[in-house]
Amino acid sequence: MSVPLLQVDNLSKSFGGIQAVRDVSFTLEEGEIVGLIGPNGAGKTTLINLVTGVFPASSGKVTYRGEDVTGQRPFQAARRGLARTFQIVQPFPAMTVLENVAAGALFAGAAASRAEAESAALAHLEFAGLAAQARRPAASLTLPSRKRLELAKSLAMKPKVLLLDEVNAGLNSSEIDHALALIRSIAARGITIIIVEHLMKVVLSLSQRILVLHHGELISAGRSEDVVKDPRVIEAYLGSKFAERQKKLARARTPA
């Protein structure tokens, strides 16, 4: 029996009086692509922040490759191979695109020297289609390019697990298709992915499993096809009236 790559047990986080994440547990096996969905404010980003050490958890445990990493700091998560992207991209604005990615290679990716980091960075930029922009300051990139920069930077960090937080926010349809192709090739490299997304088409086409968060709680988890039909999920996204109507329609359709 293999040890799951990432195991989250009863993770909770409250800010003052507000419970952002409530008793969440799940596991992540190597090679999976798992979708994390939920309405706005469900706690998806908070969950990622907890796993990567941005906030300390109020209670619960995070185990990564068999090691208890609950109290870790972000840079430790990064060095262990847990990389994440940000919903609102966080580049180093005045540094060049190459330097941005080299930072990932040098620190989390444990390159031996700056020179080695920069050549590794160039390779990742090629992969992400940004090689032509290597010498430009990161702040001068368009939004889709900045998203690809985030991806290239996280790849340079040599991650085992990549947590993608709404990589497609703000992108148009064709840009999203590009992004999907990129994510698939990342997965093909053996990197396990959790992808936070609002767009159902993206989630369904990429992930084999889906976790659904609502008001900080995990209300559904399982295979994509099943989760999408789960009445609790429908209620969370579309409201109870809609869920009722769906139930009535489903009953009407089944033969007497």
């Binding site: 941005v54 972000p74 840079f75 990064a78 180093f92 620190f107 989390a108 700056r114």
Partner: protein
């Protein structure tokens, strides 16, 4: 790697070192101040330039170095050992305190760093039994004539400056410098990318202290008398960042250029416009802020030197 700036720097150092044989004692004194302020500016550059933390602690480290060095010397320690000891004391102090105040950012860090200067000054003033209090402290005078003394301290300051410069080059080219720049650009992203931000910031803060402490101790031995208000001078702690801003923060040569320009300007202004010298310096600072946002270095080249 462009060689020219390094060559120019080497020539500059040689010129300063040769001044006792070529010019009057007054010039030698100016040369000593040039070396001294260059070292202070290079020090501040680690925390203020590379890491981007607005530190106003220069006077705290300078004063602490001055008092540590003076007290060690008066206790019988050989002068050179006292200077090294003072540098160590100051660095340890910075490392320990950095742990507490580097957690703050922006304004609060700035205020805390100024508060450090004030608190140390007040402690030196009130702990009269140990530090001589407001009356000041006399330091054992070095034996030798004025020419000899002048040379000793010129070369001391030059050595410390050279050490600070070498440290700057190493940091600039290595992981620490890269990491500090990431921290300056976006501290949270730096953390996410694998930079141990606490350790790096503390290293920068400690580096910013070590040479200041040595300079302070050397200065105390040079002038043979120190007092709280002059050793922990708010004016010094505000001038040194201005020098680096003038030259170009976060670069190898910016602090050297800026401190040299500032010291020379100040000497000229002091000599010619004593009554208005503060106002003129103030005007220079205002002009600097408005018209030279990247410092002189950015004016002369696309990116920072080397």
């Amino acid at each position: 790697m462009k060689r020219l700036p390094y060559v120019l720097f080497a020539l500059w150092m040689l010129a300063l070192a040769a001044s006792p044989f070529l010019a009057s004692n007054y010039i030698v004194k100016i040369a000593t101040f040039l070396a001294m302020y260059a070292a202070l500016a290079l020090s501040w550059n680690f925390i203020g330039g590379y890491a981007g933390y607005p530190s106003f602690s220069t006077a705290a480290f300078f004063g602490l170095g001055a008092y540590s060095g003076a007290l060690m010397q008066n206790a019988g320690l050989w002068v050179g050992a006292a200077w090294v000891g003072a540098a160590i004391v100051t660095t340890v102090f910075a490392a320990l305190l950095g742990f507490a105040i580097l957690r703050m950012r922006g304004h609060y860090f700035a205020i805390a760093s100024i508060a450090l200067v004030e608190v140390l000054m007040l402690i030196a003033s009130t702990w009269a039994g140990f530090t001589g209090g407001g009356e000041g402290l006399n330091v054992k005078i070095m034996p030798g004539g004025p020419n000899y003394i002048g040379r000793v301290f010129l070369y001391t300051m030059l050595c410390i400056m050279l050490a600070a410069f070498i440290a700057t080059v190493l940091v600039d080219r290595g992981r620490l410098g890269f990491g500090l720049r990431c921290i300056q650009q976006n501290e949270d992203a730096a953390d996410m990318v694998g930079v141990d931000v606490t350790r790096y910031k503390t290293a920068a803060f400690a580096l910013s202290a070590v040479f200041c402490g040595a300079i302070g101790a050397a200065y105390a031995s040079w002038v043979a008398y120190i007092s709280p208000v002059d050793s922990f001078s708010i004016l010094l702690t505000l001038k040194v960042p201005v020098m680096v801003l003038l030259g170009g923060p976060g670069t190898v040569f910016g602090p050297v250029i800026g401190s040299a320009a500032f010291v020379l300007m100040e000497e000229t202004i002091w000599a010619k416009f004593l009554d208005y010298h503060q106002a003129i310096l103030g005007v220079i600072i205002v002009l600097l802020i408005f018209f030279l946002p990247g410092g002189l270095l950015r004016l002369f080249s696309r990116r920072g030197a080397a």
